[in-house]
């Protein structure tokens, strides 16, 4: 069976720049190789669900280094709490962010994480509007 038979009905004419950009995102699969040393932060750190989740992950042995809640700064669960991702990126040098933010705000939270160049962004919420995800994923010409 040839590729054409399996890969049915997909347009073969992608504009070059978007194909190149697609390749570039595909390079980031290596960021999925997490492990003992992966430095993890939370977005929505002081929320009830994030707090409980962080306690369990810490007990498990995950290398959580802090988190972000807009407008707050200080400490949470004995770890640094920062008001935005820019500060978190500077001070905590995270490899990954756990987005524990409600669905209405997840699209923005993910965009913020991309802006801050966090290598791995894990979004768990259900019911994020489809078009928020399309916007996050868009190909630039």
């Amino acid at each position: 069976m040839t590729r054409a038979t399996l890969q049915v009905n997909r347009s073969s004419t992608r504009p070059f720049s978007s194909y190149r950009a697609l390749q570039s995102y595909e390079d980031t699969v290596q960021n999925l190789r997490i492990g003992k040393h992966t430095r993890v932060i939370y977005q929505g750190f002081t929320g009830r669900v994030a707090t409980g989740n962080a306690k369990d992950s810490l007990a498990y042995g995950t290398n959580i280094v802090g988190g972000v809640t807009p407008g707050k700064e200080g400490e949470h669960l004995g770890l640094p709490l920062l008001p935005d991702l820019r500060k978190a990126k500077e001070q905590l040098k995270p490899d990954a962010t756990a987005v524990f933010v409600a669905a209405p705000h997840c699209g923005k939270a993910i965009e913020d994480a991309i802006e801050a160049e966090i290598p791995l962004i894990v979004a768990v919420a259900e019911h994020i509007p489809l078009h928020d995800i399309l916007r996050v994923s868009r190909i630039s010409p």
Partner: protein, 571 residues
């Protein structure tokens, strides 16, 4: 805002609508997976369904193989990381010796994976063995099975077809995730990877994370948030609603008219805007025919940038594929304008699919202008834009609940996804109550498969009367409500409660069952219970001590056999 996923190469997204990603060897968990289920080891798992992945994890843990890396693809229409992405990582990861994929109906991820696997087996001398499962083999057409992406769009392969495609490239398919442990041991052995050595190594990796002492208490004592708005994806407009919704987008196109006539058998084309899930972008989707029997084979996707809309080149390709490029100039212009307008509507109204059949009016009926055939118009929108973000109120207001199955509508208010199955067929007599869409889908599939293999009965054995996903925010009250809904269906002869808790707490489920028995008229219908996962011992104990004579099982195979015996009247 310039740094969006594909324009840069720094950030990788996992999810959304997924449990996350976990590497048990390094004890790195990012997400809400149930920690006690996992064990450090050497099987990599990539899954659309969270609950089915927990089942697979449990089976692999019991087999002693453990997990290297588990990646949640999630149940949404567009996923940040798909099965091929995961396969690439597993290929390179020295800790991964065997691979498990968990897919379901909807989208191309499994077909893309099969293509990758075919190539992988050609270029690699001793490829890692791969096993898989597909949920939704027996899902009814036209329904969205709990997950936003769990439906087969026009042109996509069905779950059954995807299963065969994976089989054809040498993937070992299982019908229930309980079997993955045993199957993976066999496959590893066959590929020259000694499972005993792997098991030994996995055991050495294990730290003292004892399941009996460590309970994720903070998560299990979480109370569900009661919000007024619960989720539905059922926003498909009725034919009589389409004209008003389309008007602002069609009226500027001079010469285009909407006819109440059906599309002609020949000489019509199909034009639409939908989602290219692999490209993670919207796409024009056209075909040179609108004949339903041919459409799915002839339709082709032309993705475009979400922010910029389709380019002239993309439009030309889509129109040419619809074989309208040689149409008279006016009709050609109207076709291009229609596609452009629909793509604008798609973005502005947060649609999923907008489409319909067109033909060119003859000189007798018209001027050779484009006709859009009203009976073929399909307008489907993402209602979570309204429910989650309070956008698109006008579209959301068009939903006509009174025309839908009232039990299904009522279920939504509690966050339950309830779908009646095989309406009118009295042989559909097994009520199902499950946590998680993927597990709920697989429960139906497995019952039907085992039922049809049941030597003591007819080929129509094992039919469920309903699909029911309790939802991620379930409480004991939700469980009680689920029983109420299931029991309203007079066909139900037995209820199968099949739980593998991640976020869902086994103790909470058991309390819900007891509550139902106390406050709901159970009509003497037997209930078979299988509770695994978070707090399974608590749940199983509550059931055993309830004095209700409930039958509680650990294994799905045994539980479903009991269910089938009762349903077939031999139990």
């Amino acid at each position: 805002m310039t740094s969006i996923l594909k324009t840069q190469s720094k950030s990788r997204l996992v999810g959304a609508n997924a449990p996350g990603i976990i590497a048990p060897i390094g004890h790195c968990r990012i997400g809400f997976q149930p920690l006690p289920t996992f064990a450090p080891g050497h099987v990599g798992i990539a899954a659309k369904s969270g609950t089915l992945s927990y089942e697979a994890v449990a089976s692999v843990t019991r087999a002693g193989l453990g997990q290297s890396l588990c990646i949640g693809m999630g149940g949404d229409i567009v996923a940040g990381t798909n099965l091929v992405d995961s396969l690439k990582v597993f290929e390179q990861d020295p800790e991964t010796e065997g691979i498990i994929l968990i897919g379901e109906l909807g989208g191309w991820a499994e077909v893309d994976a099969a293509e990758w696997i075919r190539d992988y087996k050609k270029r690699v001398k001793n490829p890692k063995p791969i096993a898989a499962i597909l949920g939704g083999v027996h899902a009814p057409a036209g329904r969205i099975m709990g997950h936003a992406g769990a439906w087969t769009s026009t042109g996509e392969k069905t779950a059954t077809e995807k299963l065969k495609i994976l089989q054809d490239v040498g993937v070992t398919m299982v019908d229930h995730p309980e079997k993955f442990g045993k199957v993976m041991k066999t496959l590893l052995s066959q590929s020259g990877r000694d499972p005993d050595k792997i098991i030994q190594d996995a055991a050495q990796q294990k730290r003292g994370y004892h399941t009996s002492t460590r309970r994720p208490l903070a998560e299990t004592q979480r109370k569900a948030r009661q919000t007024g708005a619960h989720q539905t994806r059922n926003l498909i407009l009725k034919p009589n609603q389409a004209p008003a919704a389309l008007k602002p987008y069609l009226s500027p196109i001079e010469g285009l008219s909407v006819t109440q006539d059906d599309a002609p058998q020949t000489g019509s084309s199909y034009l639409s805007v939908t989602i290219d899930r692999t490209a993670r972008q919207p796409a024009l989707a056209t075909a040179p025919t609108s004949d339903p029997s041919q459409l799915r084979h002839r339709i082709k996707l032309f993705p475009y940038s979400y922010l910029d809309g389709p380019t002239p080149e993309t439009l030309r390709s889509a129109v040419a594929h619809a074989q309208l490029d040689a149409a008279p100039p006016a009709a050609l212009a109207q076709t291009t304008a229609l596609l452009t307008s629909l793509s604008r509507m798609h973005t502005e109204k947060e649609a999923i699919t907008l489409g319909g059949a067109v033909s060119i009016s003859s000189p007798k009926e018209g001027n050779g202008d484009l006709l859009l055939h009203a009976p073929t118009i399909h307008l489907q929108f993402d209602d979570s834009a309204f429910k989650s973000a309070n956008r698109q109120q006008d579209i959301s207001a068009l939903r006509q609940r009174e025309t839908e199955d009232q039990d299904e509508v009522e279920a939504e208010a509690d966050g339950i996804v309830y779908v009646r199955l095989h309406p009118g067929n009295p042989a559909a007599n097994i009520g199902t109550l499950v946590n998680g869409a993927g597990l709920a889908m697989n429960t139906l599939d497995a019952l039907q498969l085992y039922g049809s293999n049941n030597s003591s009965n007819t080929t129509t054995g094992g039919l469920a009367s309903n699909f029911l996903d309790t939802g991620g925010k379930a409480t004991s009250a939700t469980v009680k409500k689920s029983f109420e809904l299931i029991l309203r269906d007079p066909r139900v002869k037995v209820i199968f409660v099949n739980i593998f808790g991640g976020l869902t707490d086994g103790g909470m489920i058991a309390e819900g069952i007891l509550l139902a028995f106390k406050e709901v008229d159970m009509r003497g219908v037997p209930v078979v219970v299988r509770i695994r996962g978070t707090n399974e011992e608590v749940g199983q104990r509550i059931i055993a001590e309830s004095g209700l004579g409930l039958e509680a099982f650990d294994s799905f195979g045994e539980a479903s056999a009991r269910v089938l015996d009762i349903a077939n009247g031999s139990g």
